[in-house]
Symmetry: C2
DNA sequence: CGTTGCATTGACCGCCCTCAATGCCGGTGG
DNA sequence: CCACCGGCATTGAGGGCGGTCAATGCAACG
């Protein structure tokens, strides 16, 4: 039993830009089904082509690259609403792998329909470009964080982003959001060692600034934490949902 | 006296994917003029909107973000053939600034024509998305380098990329390519201090692996340098030129 | 009840940062 | 013509942030 795009549970959130009825109708045809991925499953593989593209309905995952010496760099976290596989769609192969951290429910699209989309739905084509530009923005910000900030600021930045984004898709409950990653994942995303990530998280916990444990993240006063590290206030521009 | 897209001096290089006559004709109309930017000029500004988009015909520049505490992160280097301003085109504002390092000649497009492009030229729309995905790829690779590699590997990676890319646009002469940046620019791109960047460059010079001085870069044996740091061989996929 | 995965904590030290001084070059004005 | 200055490259000294190594605890699982 799959969800109709017209009743997409994600579209209600202000995070996502509105969409016209006719475009929505096309999207419904574009969507060919749903896929449930179990934790640990590799959904897309670096350097491989894929005939399918996805949108995350629920659950969370990781985008990562593997270096030749076996290290891993997490280049992003896949959260509900995120589109997966655009690189494969336009460049033929993925430049990073995508793996499910929790059970994930995914909308499935056929890559072969992508060209039809570009020909007949310029607004959706525009939205796809918007999504790509948005990824570029996120990566640019991450690069700045890795290049210029120390461990405390990096972790504070990441936790704040999680808090904001997960709240925006309705996952905050009782002042906390689910964060089902391992400390190693965060370490690999921020260019830190597991040990140092752990110690820094412990410091935030004892200072009551942020508490991430047992899969839940609680940030009592996001603005206080942000001001401590000079992060600009949470400007949440809307983005497309495809 | 501006260059007609049909005679674009860049399009001859294998780096760029071929394009149909009719698409080329549209491009010629899309291009509204040329702009010459002097060294030091800010072409686009972070957090600002721009009514114009550009393609680099010649010259080089920098993309960078400024952090609230005054630091600078170089998120990319603008080389001939690079498109500038896509973020502003689809997301309304730029997420990084672009500044000319040398004198630059730029093709100028009107942002207001972008929508027409998406409606009437799906192949160009696809190419734009391709370019955005390509930027995402570059940033992901940069993130991996900053997150996982030490100073020597970071600098080797950057120098190899310059060597390959500048060669691909015909700028290699007498076994060297022009590299008109300051050491500070590279340091800010790689998340290193100027001092350490300088010392590491000196080490490469004395080991005869790479010599960057007085605006020119000479890498005698790129493959040797690449193998020293476990970089995959130079896979140069083609990309669109708009 | 051994094993496996993840979180936690302590000891040690190295890469790279900061601070600081010097040299070189081109531009500018007295 | 020369003194001065600003921008950039270079080099040495010293120290700190965050790295690796290693051991322990704990919970889930076969």
């Amino acid at each position: 039993m799959t969800i109709d795009c017209a009743n997409c549970p994600l579209r209600q959130f202000d995070l996502f830009s509105p969409i016209s009825k006719s475009t929505l109708a096309f999207l419904s045809r574009f969507k060919t089904g749903e896929l449930v991925a179990q934790p640990g499953t590799e959904i897309l593989t670096e350097q491989a082509s894929s005939s399918q593209l996805f949108t995350t309905l629920s659950g969370m995952g990781l985008r990562y690259k593997t270096t030749s010496d076996g290290d891993r760099q997490v280049v992003g976290f896949v959260l509900p609403g995120d589109f997966i596989g655009l690189q494969s769609g336009v460049m033929d192969v993925m430049q990073h792998s995508v793996e499910a951290s929790t059970e994930m429910r995914l909308c499935v699209f056929n890559r072969s329909d992508l060209w039809t989309l570009f020909r007949s739905q310029p607004d959706l084509a525009f939205s796809l470009t918007h999504l790509a530009a948005n990824e570029e923005h996120l990566l640019g910000e991450a690069l700045t964080v890795l290049g210029q900030m120390d461990a405390q600021a990096r972790i504070a930045w990441a936790l704040l982003r999680f808090d904001r984004r997960l709240t925006a898709v309705g996952l905050r409950k009782n002042g906390r959001v689910p964060l089902p990653y391992r400390q190693q994942d965060l370490a690999d995303a921020l260019g830190l060692s597991l040990v140092h990530t752990n110690k820094t998280l412990a410091r935030f916990r004892s200072r009551q600034l942020a508490n991430w444990s047992e899969g839940w993240l609680r940030v009592p006063e996001p603005d206080t934490l942000a001001s401590l590290y000079d992060f600009e206030s949470s400007i949440t521009a809307t983005r497309p949902l495809i």
